[in-house]
Symmetry: C2
Subunit: 442 residues, 2 copies
């Protein structure tokens, strides 16, 4: 069998495109309606997706109200309360929740993911993030946000504490012998006693070892510190490379770091975000894509465009072309990409603003065959191990993907027809971690 | 219609009796098996229970390992991950989760309960507790536990911050006008900006106002500070009075405090814990009760008995009667109750240890008619507004209650045949809180 694509669905909890809720046939309240989310999760499972991946924010997005008021992602469910509910209405779909190491306690985080893993029969994943948003800090009693390196040091330790707590009990600690009345074997209980400058956590965890040993560890950092912590600890990496060449560089770098640390390359799946718009013809797909952007409010779009260019462009003629913009200290790559788009597709400032304001990362727009070609190329050329797919609008964009792209990938032998296993780990082909305190039982 | 009983099911997440898991026909792993819990919740809903009530601990129970190893409650699900999963498989049952104000952040707690309330369509309740367990403190970086009054001051403020965050958005803030692209009305968003010695929380919450306005506020404190905070804020009070006379005193005291604060007596339901063993005859019920105690391990029982008496009784003959015990500084009420039980029922030390080690609060043992009589008496004499029922073992004890006691209560007009409303508040007959920052929309 050829190498297999891994597909996560990046739901936040619905789609990332800021105009999606206005698209004809979309559910404007999808972001906050459990019945809809249940339907989406069940569709993903029918499509044999590896996982439902949920982002998180610990504050209302930091944006002027006049731009923010157009956003459907301003409020949404909390991931660790939504995913258990989705666990109860699905059977095989993985459930990856984002939880921050910056403003929470390791004991709480360890418990919640262990609990989700038991409830779902081994389908939990933890997207371990640090929180840089200064507005989030203000919701947790801090006037200043925590500095980058300090956040990463804390995150690395947080990981050690959480995984140590997950290992509190041997896998076979619970005997439940009704005859003798012995519920567990005290020899198979470990007290962590972790102490450092950042954390003092005694343990043990009051939850049995997770079904998967540990829930799958997911990360998204792309900085030097982020790549290193991923190489040390991550099993799935969510990335944002827009070009295959960049993807290949990132892939080689992080997998290389893993090997240096003695980890097998296969034990991490690198999954870039991909915004996928499928049509029966290329023209239909391009039309959907363009139409979607018309639903991005100009005020939101122009703010995003100004940020991307590092230059206030709100004074220019919305229906004219993008003039020469002086060099600024904005990211050159981002700036260059915007300028290239404007030239290639002959976009007006309004169209450019709406595109940037809607979504501006890697996108695949075309027929199922074209999309499968593109995905296959990334896989074959070691640009990624699969993708975190984002849908243009719900439910239509998701239904189209499952009905059109998935069968094409299956036909090529690139994607499963049935789930391989019962747990997220088994489906992703990841090993079950040994308990560091207790040898495996044979 | 006569005054109605309110019935919660006190699940932790199963039963409190420490011998329950060994009872013939019981599920030894019920405490940690989602399929079982789903069945229990659906049975409770069929019985028209008001709510599934889930306790919580932030540490492995503080008990010597030799006693602890017999306990089925040593590990269990985390409430705020279990209850969303149960929400997805039930339609009307209330879902009350315990969450501590001592070791968590108000922003997290506000989000999770708001999220549960949306997921469940308005069925969430928050059992607001303070955590005194010193072992819990050690899991959250504190070497000493937080002192009682300080815990209550923090809890009171925690409540203000959480409810303030729930009121971040007016009920009609989300317009979702696809035509104009306005998702919400910025005039209907309130930034809390709470600042005190204990908390600094900016807000707004990134979740829409809960379906119920606020999830139902539940409390269990019985100290002076606990009663006062309950009178100020609680809508359901979980109590542990064993005798009707004590129940009546507590009821009069707390409802009196409410009235002094200008709150209507009806806006709080006082529900003592009641351990209910039902049989087709009294003899059968008594036999079940006695048999259940035989499954309590002697080592656990004798430790609990020694604590209740304030005297180490582990050296006495297990099969002899309880000798005279010198006065100690243990609680006199608890001590006296134990001595009375021993005399009344002619119990040996072993039997007494197993009873105390199994469960030692208010119990109702008998036929459905006898149990209904007892419940009715508490209700009519203002000893309570109903009960938090605890089942002797699962699933049998729960099935018996729903099949035998519920119909008897319904026949007397004391308990609903159908749910009155869609939300927990509606079913409990509690008013929906006004948003303190936005006038109600008419």
């Amino acid at each position: 069998m050829s190498r297999q694509l891994r597909l996560g669905a990046f739901m936040r909890p619905t789609t990332i495109h800021t105009g999606a809720w206005r698209y004809p046939g979309a559910y404007p309240d999808a972001n906050f309606n459990f019945a809809h989310l249940k339907r989406f999760a069940q569709t993903l499972e029918r499509g044999r997706f590896d996982a439902f991946f949920m982002a998180d924010h610990l504050a209302v997005l930091n944006m002027p109200l006049d731009a923010l008021k157009h956003s459907h992602t301003v409020t949404s469910f909390e991931p660790l309360t939504l995913l258990p509910a989705l666990a109860a209405v699905t059977e095989r779909l993985g459930l990856i929740a984002t939880a921050s190491t910056t403003f929470d306690a390791p004991y709480h985080v360890a418990r919640r993911f262990a609990s989700l893993d038991h409830i779902s029969g081994g389908r939990a994943g933890w997207n371990l993030v640090t929180t840089s948003n200064p507005d989030a800090a203000l919701n947790f009693g801090l006037d200043e946000h925590v500095e980058h390196d300090e956040r990463y040091r804390r995150a690395r330790e947080f990981f050690d504490v959480v995984t140590g707590l997950w290992d509190s009990w041997a896998d076979d600690a619970f005997i439940r012998d009704t005859e003798t009345g012995t519920f567990f074997d005290p020899e198979k209980l470990h007290v962590l006693n972790y102490k450092s400058e950042n954390f003092s956590v005694r343990g043990p965890l009051n939850i049995a070892r997770p079904v998967q040993g540990w829930p799958v560890i997911v990360q998204a950092g792309s900085s030097e510190a982020g790549r290193q912590i991923a190489a040390e600890t991550a099993e799935v990496v969510f990335t944002a490379q827009t070009l295959l060449a960049d993807g290949k560089r990132f892939y080689a770098d992080v997998k290389g770091r893993m090997e240096k640390l003695g980890r097998a390359r296969d034990h991490m799946k690198i999954l870039p975000a991909a915004f996928v718009v499928v049509g029966d013809t290329l023209e239909e797909a391009l039309e959907t894509r363009a139409r979607l952007d018309t639903f991005v409010h100009y005020e939101s779009g122009i703010a995003s465009l100004s940020i991307a260019l590092g230059h206030d462009v709100s004074g220019f003629d919305p229906d004219g072309p993008l003039p020469e913009i002086p060099e600024t200290n904005a990211s050159r790559t981002a700036r260059q990409r915007v300028v290239e788009w404007a030239q290639r597709d002959g976009l007006t400032i309004r169209q450019l603003a709406q595109r940037i304001g809607g979504y501006s990362g890697l996108e695949m727009v075309g027929t199922a065959k074209m999309i499968a070609d593109q995905m296959e190329q990334w896989l074959v050329e070691d640009g990624s191990d699969g993708f975190n797919v984002m849908f243009p609008y719900l439910p239509g964009g998701l239904d189209d993907f499952v009905e059109k792209v998935i069968p094409e990938l299956q036909k090529r032998g690139l994607f499963r027809r049935e789930y391989e296993g019962a747990t997220l780990r088994e489906n992703l082909g990841l090993p079950r971690p040994e308990n560091r305190f207790f040898a495996r039982v044979n």
